[in-house]
């Protein structure tokens, strides 16, 4: 579904991604793990069009979307949940969700997706009329995910959904990620919480200072000594 070839991204003179190649198949959950500053978020932002790559290809269903503007990428079916949630604080939950469907014209489909999102996150329905800025961190994360789902994406990019959340909420969020995947949405998950990420993902890539250093199925990486010491806190 998504095929990235030899992607190079720069911030000014600093190279953030060095020849990254990566593949996601339809229906998978793929996770990208790595330390702070490894380039995880940069990769997501480049896929969703918020950053332009210097060279390399990003093929989404066969079409090259590298360097395209964000709105045409959203239209093609790639939607991002930005890091740190970034909800529209002074708007209500409902208005936030409406904006997620900004590029869609099919009123009926939008109404259906409202139902779907509210089923997935009953808490959001309770707080429909509440200002997004007054929600708790976990609820805001749910809102950010719901908002991205309103674009009816085929590929959902999740940037650190567990950031700053209580352990119990992290579990809930990951359960919902699994549920979203079960309805047929392919997911690329960027996480620092490698344990949780590997528990839901089918496959994983490990990124270090802008390079993919390791990839494999979640089970393989869970067994790997290198990963256990570096990311899973094992000895």
């Amino acid at each position: 579904m998504l095929n990235i070839q030899n992607l190079n991204v720069y911030y000014g003179n600093i190279q953030a991604l060095k020849g990254v190649s990566l593949e996601i198949n339809e229906g998978e959950i793929v996770t990208l793990i790595g330390a702070n500053g490894a380039g995880k978020s940069t990769l997501l932002k480049t896929i969703s069009g918020l950053i332009k790559p210097k060279d390399g290809e990003i093929l989404f269903e066969g079409q090259n979307i590298a360097g395209k503007v964000a709105q045409s990428i959203v239209k093609k079916g790639v939607s991002q949940v930005p890091e740190g949630r970034r909800v529209f604080a002074n708007m209500t939950v409902e208005e936030n969700l409406e904006l997620g469907a900004f590029l869609r014209k099919d009123t009926k489909g939008i109404r259906e997706d409202f139902e779907k999102v509210y089923n997935l996150f009953p808490r959001l329905q309770e707080r429909r009329k509440q200002q997004a800025g007054t929600l708790s961190g976990g609820e805001q994360q749910m809102l950010a995910m719901g908002r991205a789902l309103m674009a009816r994406p085929r590929l959902l990019l999740l940037d650190e959904p567990s950031m700053g959340l209580a352990p119990l909420l992290v579990k809930t969020i990951f359960r919902i990620i699994q549920e979203i995947n079960d309805t047929g949405t392919t997911i690329l998950l960027v996480e620092q919480n490698a344990n949780m990420a590997l528990s839901v993902a089918d496959r994983a890539y490990v990124i270090e200072t802008g390079r993919i250093v390791l990839d494999g199925t979640s089970d393989e990486l869970n067994q790997s000594d290198q990963i256990r010491t570096a990311y899973l806190g094992g000895h």
Binding site: L50, V69, S79, P82, R86, N90, L99, F102, A144, A148
Partner: protein, 324 residues
């Protein structure tokens, strides 16, 4: 049901505005309002248009622009050329004044709206000064000594333009486009990630705001018999900025109320220009201390979305108490 209520409120305010303008027209005709009050009313009207147009750029779209006097100047000079040099009718001058300012808005907006925050503020401030200095050096429009303009601004034109600009901007704000602009103000990165073309909406808001500033410029030029580049310095930009900030960023009724209040205050303080600026500053300082969100906060916008008239009224009353 709320839609019906909202429509009722809409027509009620239109009727109220028409009754008000007819009554004022009758008073002007009958001579009960002397020239001083009439002039103050005209100033209030012009300032309301300016406040509302900048409100769209700063309050709704969140782009901190402080070169609004530049658009005012473009509108004023463009329209003065139409009426004085080319001897064409005033209605056409209004249109040309607005369009010229909108074009200026596009020219400055497309490159500078890539900037954010303080950088955008500095760029727009620079733009305002450039416009002023250009007019200062064009002999065709009189250079530093200014340009004589006939008094063509009449009450029906003025109140018509005020109502028109408020209607257009309220409707824009409540449309999908307005929603997109607000999302840019709330969080530009998230708006981008939702597939909203942020550059397009920023430039659009900028051009519409500039258009109405140009209309205000036309009314302004044809109200004071003479226009000079010194009238359009950066202090003028700050005057307009103060209306918007004092009213509450994101609240149109706040901007209108602040424009009315401050115009009255500064008109009555005209004999003491020094204290006028001191009082301005004091009002702002007191405001920032006791009501940092402005007279109205962003209240009116959300209540408009929900169509809850009662909430809007309640907030307005509360803010009036604060002022008093």
């Amino acid at each position: 049901m709320s839609i019906v209520k909202q429509a009722k409120g809409f027509w009620a305010s239109i009727v109220l505005a028409i009754v008000f303008s007819v009554v004022v027209q009758l008073l002007i005709n009958g001579g009960q309002l002397n020239a001083f009050y009439v002039n103050t009313l005209f100033l209030i009207g012009i300032n309301i248009i300016l406040a509302v147009s900048l409100h769209l750029i700063i309050g709704i779209t969140g782009q901190f622009s402080i070169g609004h006097a530049g658009f005012l100047a473009v509108g004023a000079y463009a329209s003065a050329i139409i009426t004085m040099k080319l001897q064409l009718p005033f209605g056409l001058a209004l249109l040309v004044g607005g369009l010229a300012a909108a074009v200026a808005g596009l020219i400055i907006g497309i490159p500078s709206l890539r900037l954010k925050g303080d950088y955008l503020a500095i760029a727009t401030l620079g733009f305002g000064e450039i416009v002023r200095i250009i007019f200062l050096n064009i002999n065709y429009v009189g250079g530093a000594s200014g340009m004589q303009v006939s008094h063509l601004t009449t009450w029906p034109w003025l109140i018509g333009c005020v109502i028109f600009s408020i209607l257009v901007i309220v409707n824009f704000t409540n449309s999908t486009h307005g929603r997109a602009c607000i999302s840019i103000r709330e969080n530009e990165i998230a708006a981008d990630a939702m597939g909203i073309n942020t550059t397009y909406y920023k430039v659009t808001a900028f051009a519409i705001g500039a258009f109405f500033a140009g209309i205000a410029g036309t009314l302004y030029a044809h109200n004071f018999y003479i226009i000079q580049p010194t009238n359009f310095g950066f202090l003028k930009s700050f005057d307009i900025l103060i209306f918007v900030v004092l009213g509450g960023l994101g609240s149109m009724s706040g901007a209108v109320i602040a424009a009315i209040l401050l115009t009255i205050i500064s008109t009555y303080l005209q004999d003491y220009p020094e204290t006028r600026m001191i009082i301005y500053s004091l009002v702002l300082i007191v405001m920032m201390l006791y009501r940092p969100q402005g007279l109205m906060g962003t209240k009116e916008i959300t209540s408009l979305f929900k169509g809850r008239k009662s909430v809007k009224g309640g907030v307005q009353d509360e803010s009036k108490h604060t002022v008093a």
